[in-house]
Amino acid sequence: MSHNTMNLKLKVWRQKNANVAGAFKTYEVNDISDEMSFLEMLDVLNEKLIVTGDEPIAFDHDCREGICGMCSLYIDGKPHGPWQANTTCQLHMRAFKDGDTITIEPWRSNAFPIVKDLTVDRGAFDRIIQAGGYISVNTGNAVDGNSLPINKDNADAAFAAAMCIGCGACVAACKNSSAMLFLSAKVSHLALLPQGEPERKSRVLNMVAQMDKEGFGSCTNTGACEAACPKEISIANIARLNKEYLRAGLTAE
C-alpha cells in the first residue's frame, strides 16, 4: 500500500474558557501521513505548539477505538467528520487531500458549555441518565442468562439502541440542539426489555423532564441526528420515545 503525506491548513476554534469569547485560529501542519488518525494529526500539531511555547489545543478523547464516546469535534460541517457511522478517533487522514483546509469546531449547544477550545462539558447527559436511565435491582448473584425469556426482535432492537455511546453528536448535528436521539436510545433499550418494565413510565417522564431542564431543544424529526450518529442509532427510537411518553403521561399516577 502506498504511503502518502499531505500538508493541511486547519481552522481551529480556540477559546480559553466558558466565560471569554472564542475565535478561529489557523494552523498549518505538514507531512501528515494518510495512515494517521485525525486525533494523531492533532497530537502532531500539539507537539509542535508545545515546542514553540504555544498553548496546545484541548480536545476530548479516551479509548481511541470508537467505543467510549469521549471524542467529539465538528469537522468541516459534520459531527465526527466526513465518514458515515464513524467516530472522530476512527477518522483517518486518508479522508482528506493534500492542500485541504479543515474547519474544526466544538459541539455547539448551550447545554454543552465549552470548557476549553474544542472540549465541551457533556455532564448534562450524565444527569439525564441519573434521572432514570437505569434499572433498580437488588444485588446478589447474577441470574441465569436464559431465565428471562426475551423475544429475539426486541433483544436485537434493544441492543441496537444500547449501542449509543453518548457522544453528543446528535445534539451537535441538530438545528434545535435536541438530545432526543440520545434520550430515545436510552429509553428504548430499557423499554424493550423485561428488566426495564417496572420503572418504564417514571423513567421516560423523569428523563424527559431532566432533558428539558438541561436546556436542550425539541425534536422536529429532520433526521440530521441519525445521519450524524457514529453508532447509526435509528430515528425510529425517537418515535418510540414519543409513544412511551404519551403512554406514560396518560396512564402514570
Partner: protein, 232 residues
Amino acid sequence: MSSKNMFTSSVGKKLVMAFTGIFLILFLIVHAGLNACIWANDEGLMFNKAAHFMGSFVVPRVLEIGLFLGIFLHILQGYMLTLENRSKRSVGYAVNYAKGSKWYSRSMALLGTLLLMFLVMHIYHFWTPSRLGGIGGIKSLSVFDKNGVEYHNLYAEMQLVFENPLVVLLYVLACGSLGYHLAHGFQSAFKTIGIHNKRYHALISTIGYGFAILIPLAFAMMPISFYFKLIN
C-alpha cells in the same frame, strides 16, 4: 414523576403540533374534496350547494370553530417552538450541517409563515365575503335556491378573484409551500404520535409524499382552471 406538564414539555409540545397538524390535514381533505365540485362544469351549481351546506349546517360550523382554534394553536406553538429551539445554540457553526437533513424539514417555520401570509389573503378573498357578506371589499354576489332562499355565489366569487394573474400566481406559489410543508409534516406528525415500526412508517411516508403532491396540486389547479377558462 410527574405527568402534569405532559403537553408543555419538549415532547408534549411536539404532540400538540402533531395532533393539530393531523387535524389540519383532515381539513385539507374536506376542503379539497368540496372545492373539486367546481369541476362538475355546471356553472358552479353543485359547488355553491356544497358551500352553502357547509356554511348553514350546524356541524360544519362547530367544526369551523375547532378549525380556527387548531390553526391558531398550530401557528402559536410552531412559532414558540422555533424561537425556543433557536435560543438553545447561542454561538452557531461556521459550517452548517446541511447534508444530514432535507431543506424543507429545516424550514417548516419559513414555509408555515408563507402559508400564514397566504391564509390572510385567502380568508379576505373567500371566507369573510361568504360568512360576513362582502367585508373583503368584493361585492356580495347572491344566488337563490328553489325555495327562494338567498345565499352567496362563491363560484362567481372565485371567477372574479382568479381573473387577476398575480393572485393566481400567489395561490400557486402558496400551494408549493403547502406541498413542502406537508412533505415533512405528514410523516413527522405520525412519528411524533409514536408510530415507529418499519412497515407502517414506510406506508405512512409513501402516503405522506403522495398527499403532499396531490392535495396542493388539486388546490393549484383551481385558480389555474378559472384563469385559463378551463371550466365555465
